[in-house]
């Protein structure tokens, strides 16, 4: 068996009456990108926080967690020493410039100043921020701030990188750039853990992922495998059908969402025929994707 970066077994976390994480188990081999997918409140962030001691699993029957052999309950400091953490919120030091942010952060790892300057130059270049090094944080765009947060998380040359929704709210250029960088890091042997609710993101960069709902693991596997196993190959979306429904054949699975009707089938010909009854613009015929799996599993209703 490949050596594990993370091993979680029967992890429980409750806040009062609320169960945030319920009996969650998973293994993350070293050097892969592992994703947590789930609607808001599914327990993704809580699980991440429990890996480096920002949250503590239940003291009674909380399960077991090991990060490179360290238990975050006792050795959070050691774990954080070789881990880079990018949180959901921007928590840069607003009072300092880009370079000062990184210099101070390097002190938190007790890096000697000389070495820190080289590392900082490297991480800024890697995240394409070199020309912003003297800018105050206030002047950075959302995308630059996120890139800087990632640069900051790389300053200790981490073996494990934890990112909580790394590309939420960013434009497509920045998003693709960040994906490329994460792929680069993976090639360098960094184990990456991320949460997201962008299916595209999970599909693009995760080697393995968990879909969570209400604190529980609903399914796990590589993205392509999940699509293959859990959903039909093609989808026909009928827009504004209103009361008019379509006569679906037996070979087709149907779902309703508001006034849309979705027909799923493995056989392209069947749904192609159905789509012929409608005029262009009233339907979308496409391949199924991770989002379809996700919605099928976690339900189409709002979770909030």
């Amino acid at each position: 068996m490949k050596e594990l970066a993370i091993k979680a077994k029967n992890v429980h976390k409750t806040y009062g009456n609320l169960t945030a994480v319920n009996n969650l188990s998973f293994d993350v081999p070293r050097g892969i990108c592992f994703g947590f997918l789930g609607p808001n409140g599914a327990g993704k962030t809580t699980m991440m926080k429990m890996l480096f001691g920002k949250a503590e699993r239940d003291s009674v029957q909380g399960g077991e967690v090991s990060v490179f052999g360290y238990d975050p309950k006792e050795s959070a400091l050691e774990i954080k020493f070789f881990t880079g953490i990018v949180s959901q919120e921007d928590n840069l030091d607003q009072e300092l410039s880009v370079i000062q942010n990184l210099m101070i952060y390097s002190k938190f790892y007790a890096l000697p100043a000389k070495q820190a300057r080289i590392f900082i130059q490297n991480v800024l270049a890697f995240m394409e921020l070199s020309d912003k090094k003297d800018a105050p944080i206030r002047q950075l765009s959302g995308g630059m701030k996120r890139r800087l947060l990632i640069a900051r998380a790389l300053i200790n040359n981490p073996k494990l990188l934890i990112l909580d929704e790394p590309t939420t709210g960013l434009d497509p250029q920045v998003r693709h750039m960040i994906w490329d960088k994460l792929r680069d890091l993976k090639k360098q042997g960094v184990t990456i853990l991320l949460t997201t609710h962008y299916m595209e993101e999970a599909f693009q960069i995760c080697d393995d992922l968990i879909i969570m709902n209400k604190g529980e693991k609903v399914m796990q596997g590589p993205p392509a495998y999940l699509i293959d196993k859990h959903i039909e190959t093609y989808v026909l979306e009928l827009l504004h059908t209103g009361d008019k429904t379509c006569d679906a054949k037996d070979a087709v699975r149907t779902e309703f969402m508001n006034n849309r009707m979705l027909l799923y089938a493995d056989d392209f010909e069947i749904i192609k025929q159905i789509s012929d009854q409608f005029k262009a613009g009233d339907f979308i015929l496409r391949q199924s994707n991770l989002e379809d799996v996700f919605l099928k599993i976690t339900g189409r209703k709002l979770h909030e």
């Binding site: 806040y15 050691e78 020493f81 949180s87 009072e95 300092l96 938190f108 007790a110 900051r152």
Partner: protein
């Protein structure tokens, strides 16, 4: 905990030592503070001038000698430590609250190899450092006016340092309860302002009714003022050991309670 344990490809895992971690936090605050050195460093030199002119000169001419000292001498020695109290209190109430709730500075810091304890010990020490600096500023000003009679006064900034630690610990403890930034008003109006007036700074406590003297003795600032006066006038008595002990116990007690409570707020 075996921090030097090695893993297959992990290399040695040796997080910074406690001293390095606390120092790094302290340094963060110093960096932020010294970015605006002029606007941050100016007030401590000007405030004593306002005080000496406004109260010392104005009121002083109506007041006779206090313990054999002119009123302005009495006042000058009293105002060495209050700025340490105010700066530490502001730093660890509004400052801490903003870092905690608005800027999320602690969330960023705690993602590095620091513990909650490191962060707040570093912060208390920084507040102490500010207290030291503010007391130095006042001392410089009053010395410039010839209001310092004993060379022993050079030690008073160290009492400013302890005062800073003490009020940082108290302020962090208060902050650990506060959910809304406006609630600090209660603390300032109800505790900090009366403390300033009833700690023997602008008038001696000896003539107060007994119950008021007992209340004053509970105020941490009174103990700092007593120590400072002893150094300023080079007149020491064994009771000062009690004042010093009070301050040290106060720091340890409120500091540890504050850290415990703030940890619950940061780690969930």
């Amino acid at each position: 905990m075996n921090s030097a344990r090695t893993m297959a490809d992990l290399g040695p895992v040796r997080p910074p030592t406690l001293y390095q971690r606390i120092f790094s936090v302290w340094l963060r605050h110093v960096r932020v503070y010294t970015r605006h050195l002029i606007s941050n460093g100016f007030p401590p030199f000007v405030e004593p001038l306002i005080f000496l002119a406004g109260i010392g000169l104005g009121l002083g001419s109506y007041v006779g000698l206090i313990d054999g000292k002119t009123y302005i001498m009495f006042l000058a020695s009293g105002i060495i430590v209050p700025p340490a109290m105010f700066t530490a209190t502001f730093e660890c109430t509004f400052g801490t609250f903003i870092r905690l709730e608005f800027d999320k500075v602690y969330d960023g810091m705690i993602s590095a190899s620091l513990t909650v304890k490191d962060m707040f010990i570093g912060e208390i020490l920084f507040a102490g450092t500010k207290g030291f600096f503010f007391s130095c500023a006042v001392l410089t000003v009053i010395a410039g006016f010839g209001l310092v009679e004993s060379g022993m006064a050079v030690f008073t900034p160290f009492i400013g340092f302890i005062t800073g630690l003490m009020f940082a610990a108290l302020a962090l403890f208060v902050t650990s309860f506060v959910k809304n930034i406006n609630h600090f008003n209660f603390f300032f109006t109800g505790v900090v302002t009366p403390m300033f007036f009833f700690s023997g700074i602008v008038f001696p406590l000896d003539n107060l009714p007994e119950f008021a003297r007992w209340i004053a003795a509970l105020f941490p600032l009174m103990h700092a003022v007593r120590l400072v006066r002893a150094f300023c006038f080079n007149s020491f008595d064994p009771g000062l050991f009690f004042n010093l002990a009070y301050m040290i116990i106060f720091i340890a007690l409120f500091g540890s309670m504050a850290i415990k409570r703030l940890k619950k707020r940061i780690v969930n």
